[in-house]
């Protein structure tokens, strides 16, 4: 039942959406995740995401809308899993006894996810320069030679990209 103090038409619409489709969404996510315990978390995150939409859309096909939002979250969930596995592989490959705490692991993985998102959000030139310098280990003159951009452009581009990394690292 709606709380008479806080109820709004948007609130009522979400409540209706939840009551009518939450069980269905949970089933959809369980099938996608192979019965994973994460299904309930992702269903919760889906509704939380929808609650943050302002203004609320008028839904002609609520399940299609829920599916779209849930699929985006599923993609992020899978991607995070891949990133976390890669991080653990790197730790294992070091051959040193290293067992990060749960919190450390969470922080590192979250940071890596954010950095991947940051790289995805770069324009093509910035991404090319950044990856050549940071992943392939080319010097800035080598990056300039490889890409055809001037050394000045390479340095300015790297400075801006690194500033954004800095803000992610200390967010």
């Amino acid at each position: 039942m709606s709380d008479p103090v806080t109820a709004t038409p948007a609130h009522d619409a979400i409540q209706t959406l939840y009551v009518e489709h939450h069980r269905w969404l949970l089933g959809f996510l369980r099938r996608r995740l192979g019965g994973s315990d994460h299904a309930a978390d992702l269903a919760h995150d889906t509704f939380e995401r929808i609650m943050g939409v302002d203004p609320q859309p008028i839904l002609a096909q609520p399940r299609a809308y829920l599916t779209t939002v849930a699929k985006r979250l599923l993609f992020r969930h899978h991607r995070r899993g891949v990133i976390e596995a890669a991080y653990l592989d790197v730790l294992a490959a070091r051959g040193e006894p290293c067992e990060p705490s749960v919190e450390s692991r969470l922080i590192v993985v979250e940071t890596l996810v954010e950095l991947c998102r940051l790289v995805d959000g770069m324009d093509a030139r910035t991404r090319a320069i950044f990856l050549l310098a940071q992943l392939e280990g080319l010097s800035y003159p080598e990056v300039a030679q490889r890409t055809g951009y001037s050394l000045d452009i390479v340095k300015k581009t790297m400075s801006k990209a690194l500033q954004r990394c800095f803000s992610v690292m200390y967010a």
Binding site: I107, T111, L151, S159, L162, Q163, F166, S167, Y170, A171
Partner: protein
């Protein structure tokens, strides 16, 4: 949750972070003795500069 580097945060003033990052890029590209002298002078000029620079050293 804390950041990757714990609760110790370098200053968030964008201008100082930008200057520290410019120095990082400069030092990664065959700095001259004059560049190194100017970099050391910049770090010594203000505690915030040193703090921002330390953010790149962790």
């Amino acid at each position: 949750m804390t950041s990757l580097f714990g609760s110790a945060r370098p200053p968030s003033r964008p201008a100082v972070v930008a200057a520290a990052t410019d120095w990082l890029v400069c030092l990664q590209c065959d700095p001259t003795p004059a560049d190194l002298a100017r970099w050391q002078a910049w770090r010594a000029a203000n505690p915030d500069h040193e703090l921002a620079w330390s953010g790149w050293q962790r």
